[in-house]
């Protein structure tokens, strides 16, 4: 009744070509954005303030669900461009994400290379020499990560001119295995650490804005404030404790400090020891930044796929011969799809490192199972649909977490922990098959059907 096109006309083609055909859709999206950007953080904050929700529950929601979900949405969008819109199946998504993550890492640490020299005692002395200034702006890092990944993606997309279908899918595994091998073998990539792990250093944005204050109590009873500037999104920043400070009086702003818990723990009156303290990003900052990135890229993707580039991709996907005969260059079009898709995946990988994990081991974080799970998201969500990318990412990310959280109920019945875990796997596998049988076109198709039903509701005839 409320959701129908009656009475909505467009008088210009420009308007008719807008993203939304219906005003209701447009308002719906604005509502959703409002919810995600404002209602979620403020609501959670109020819930915690009101004592309804534990602070750690809020952390749990952000750190292990929402951030991961956003990263997965980004990666699913990336793969959907390639597989859903351009019809090229790829099993190398995780590796491309890895390229993004390592690019972000290298730029954030100044592109070090190693110089090894023998000193007088015959010991090997190695020093890291930076060749670029360190970049501490996450946005710049993410864009660089996307750009480099796009180039790598194009290289691995070259065989797609000759190889098609599942043959191409398996061939993209070459990228997967080769790149992951590089992540654990090319020492330069991980700054020559002994274990091939990487950790993102301090990153912050808008460092000219004051975002928080920590107030220290001095021996004479007065207070001294230390102000914190910029929004931290990754790593931690070390600051000096004012000379002679005795206690911490309060901490406020977009920060978490080493002291934030000392304040509330039973021995809160404990004196400050040491000369420095460290501040950490709050999950809200990370969430808002990643959400903004995902929204911006979703907008870009929507624009690309509804324009000439998207049409060329879909033409190649639907019938590549006919597409060539109307003048679409197959190689250029496919490579552009590989480039854009890899750009998105690279951004997702950089987000994974910067916002979600912070430190990771390349070969483990970007292994083949990740590639599969992203392909899952795209297919369960619906090929060739942006909404589908989001729905699929949500399904694949959230289902296991929901299953884990209903686990205590099952655990009481079965003592065997492994059995509970196995049941979870079986349920997950069965759900996937069930979904494919019920709606092979994915969740986005279900969503569409629901909308069509809603258009007619409550008078279907």
């Amino acid at each position: 009744m409320f959701y129908r096109e009656a009475g909505q006309f467009y008088t210009t083609y420009a308007k008719d070509q807008g993203i939304f055909q219906l005003k209701q859709d447009k308002y719906g999206l604005w509502g959703l954005l409002f919810f995600a950007f404002l209602v979620v953080p403020i609501g959670l904050y109020l819930l915690v303030q009101g004592g309804v929700m534990a602070g750690t529950t809020k952390d749990y929601l952000y750190n292990s669900i929402l951030l991961l979900l956003l990263v997965n949405c980004m990666a699913a969008m990336g793969l959907n461009i390639l597989t859903g819109y351009c019809g090229q199946i790829s099993l190398g998504t995780a590796a491309f994400m890895g390229v993004g993550a390592f690019t972000a890492y290298k730029f954030s640490t100044g592109m070090n290379y190693r110089v090894q020299k023998e000193d007088n005692a015959g010991e090997l002395v190695s020093t890291l020499v930076p060749i670029l200034p360190q970049i501490d702006n996450p946005i710049a890092l993410i864009l660089l990560a996307g750009a480099v990944t796009a180039i790598v993606g194009v290289l691995f997309g070259l065989p797609s001119l000759r190889i098609k279908g599942f043959y191409l899918a398996v061939a993209t595994l070459a990228a997967q295995f080769f790149l992951v091998w590089c992540f654990s073998r090319v020492e330069w990539l991980y700054d020559y650490t002994s274990s091939s792990t990487i950790q993102i250093p301090l990153l912050k944005v808008l460092s000219f804005i004051e975002t928080g204050t920590i107030t220290f109590g001095m021996p004479d009873g007065s207070t001294k404030a230390v102000s914190v500037s910029g929004f931290l999104v990754a790593g931690s920043e070390t600051l000096k404790v004012p000379d002679g400070a005795k206690t911490i009086v309060s901490a406020s702003g977009f920060i978490l400090t080493d002291f934030s818990k000392a304040l509330s723990s039973p021995d809160a009156s404990r004196a400050v020891t040491g000369e420095t303290f460290r501040i950490y990003p709050v999950p809200e900052t990370k969430y808002i930044f990643s959400l903004a990135i995902v929204v911006v890229f979703a907008f870009i993707m929507k624009n690309l796929v509804r324009g000439r580039i998207g049409r060329a991709w879909m033409a190649i996907r639907d019938m590549d011969i006919a597409a060539q005969l109307i003048g679409i260059r197959p190689l250029a079009t496919k490579l552009l799809a590989f480039a854009v898709s890899s750009f998105f995946c690279g951004v997702a990988g950089a987000m994974l490192l910067i916002f979600y994990l912070g430190a990771l081991e390349g070969a483990e974080a970007f292994n083949i199972n990740e590639s599969f799970s992203i392909l899952f998201m795209v297919i369960i969500g619906g090929l060739g649909s942006i909404t589908g990318s989001f729905l699929g990412a949500a399904f694949i990310t959230l289902t296991p977490i929901i299953l884990i959280n209903v686990q205590p109920a099952i655990s009481d019945v079965f003592q065997d922990k492994a059995l509970v875990e196995h049941i979870q796997f079986m349920v997950f596998g069965a759900l996937i098959i069930l979904f494919l049988i019920m709606e092979p076109l994915g969740l986005s198709r279900l969503w569409q059907i629901a909308k069509e039903k809603l258009r007619q509701w409550p008078f279907p005839y």
Binding site: T83, I89, P159, R162, I163, K164, G165, F166, Y167, V170, A171, L173, A174, Q176, F177, F178, V180, W181, R185, I321, A322, L325, I368, F372, L375, F376, I379, I380, L383, A418, L419, E421, H422, I423, Q424, F425, M426, F428, G429, A430, L431, I432, I433, L436, I437, P440
Partner: protein
């Protein structure tokens, strides 16, 4: 310059010691046969249903788990094998009944995804029944080695080669001489036409899944004898994929020849080039080898040349 040449020709230079070179070649070929055993199961299902069965690796695990489990319970080996074959056939029927018949005429990628879902389910299901511990699997395959001309050859791998040969012969007879086999080939050639002459597609699917379950059992037995039966067994599917693209998804001889090429290629590369670049290159080398090959022959080794029509 000399170093560069040495690097480029490293895989050939290993033949400086011809015994060692021959050992690499033989090990490579025999390792390739082990991959082929896994690849065969993929080929069978793809041929008959156009389904890229990602669960094949888990099927190998599942079959081996059952066999090792029964033997562990004290069931005599021949009976255990028969029981396991029975389970694989039952499994084929269940898969057809619960999954395949509901996915008729779906796109290939959907079928592919469904098999991944199946893989999730089956690996957990197998371990629920038989536990996650490593199980020893000993069906009397000779262990140890012999050394003609100072070249080491292991009995297990030789057995694998013989088993693979026997399996291919059995499959060839099955496909060419039996009525079911002819029906299978008809389905592989043209679904619609096969349907129209009265071949029951569902029966075909059951048979083909059962056969590939039995092939999985053979592969699982060989691999299980090598490394014990445990979850990791399911991951050998990834070693079979380059074999598949090299040999073509639909060709049984392709799976064998592809396996030999991949096995030989990756061992030569690892032994030759590995030390220069830090080693562990064989995984991606197999894929790159297959991919390069594919660029020149997009239809695989034994696939038919594709003539595009409009």
């Amino acid at each position: 310059m000399g170093e560069i040449l040495e690097f480029i020709f490293a895989p050939i230079l290993i033949f400086e010691s011809w015994r060692f070179g021959m050992e690499v070649v033989i090990s490579g070929l025999l390792a390739g046969v082990m991959y082929s055993l896994v690849a065969l199961g993929f080929v069978l299902i793809y041929k008959a249903s156009g389904m890229f069965n990602f669960a094949q690796g888990v099927l190998v695990l599942f079959a081996a788990l059952n066999l090792a489990g029964f033997i562990g319970l004290g069931v005599p080996i021949p009976l255990a094998i028969i029981l396991t074959i029975g389970i694989m056939i039952l499994f084929a029927i269940v898969v057809e009944y619960l999954i395949l018949r509901h996915l008729v005429n779906q796109e290939q990628i959907i079928l592919f995804m469904a098999t991944i879902g199946l893989a999730f389910f089956l690996s957990a299901f197998g371990e629920t029944i038989w536990g996650s511990e490593v199980k020893k699997l000993d069906v009397g395959i000779p262990q140890g080695r012999f050394e003609p001309f100072g070249i080491q050859i292991q009995y297990l791998e030789l057995t694998a080669g013989a088993v693979a040969a026997a399996l291919v012969i059995c499959l060839a007879i099955f496909f060419n001489k039996t009525k079911i086999g002819r029906a299978l080939r008809a389905v592989a050639d043209d679904h619609q036409a096969a349907l129209s002459v009265g071949i029951n597609l569902r029966t075909i699917w059951i048979i083909v899944w059962a056969v590939s379950g039995i092939v999985a059992l053979v592969a699982g037995t060989m691999w299980g004898a090598k490394s014990g039966v445990q979850f990791s067994l399911s991951e050998i599917a990834l070693k079979a994929l380059p074999v598949l693209i090299l040999g073509g998804f639909e060709s049984i001889p392709g799976a064998i020849i592809g396996g030999l090429i991949i096995g030989l290629g990756e061992k030569l590369a690892e032994v030759g080039w590995g030390p220069y670049v830090g080693g562990a290159i064989e995984d991606w080398f197999a894929y790159i080898l297959a991919m390069v090959f594919l660029v020149f022959r997009p239809q695989g080794l034994f696939g038919e040349k594709i003539i595009e029509r409009v």
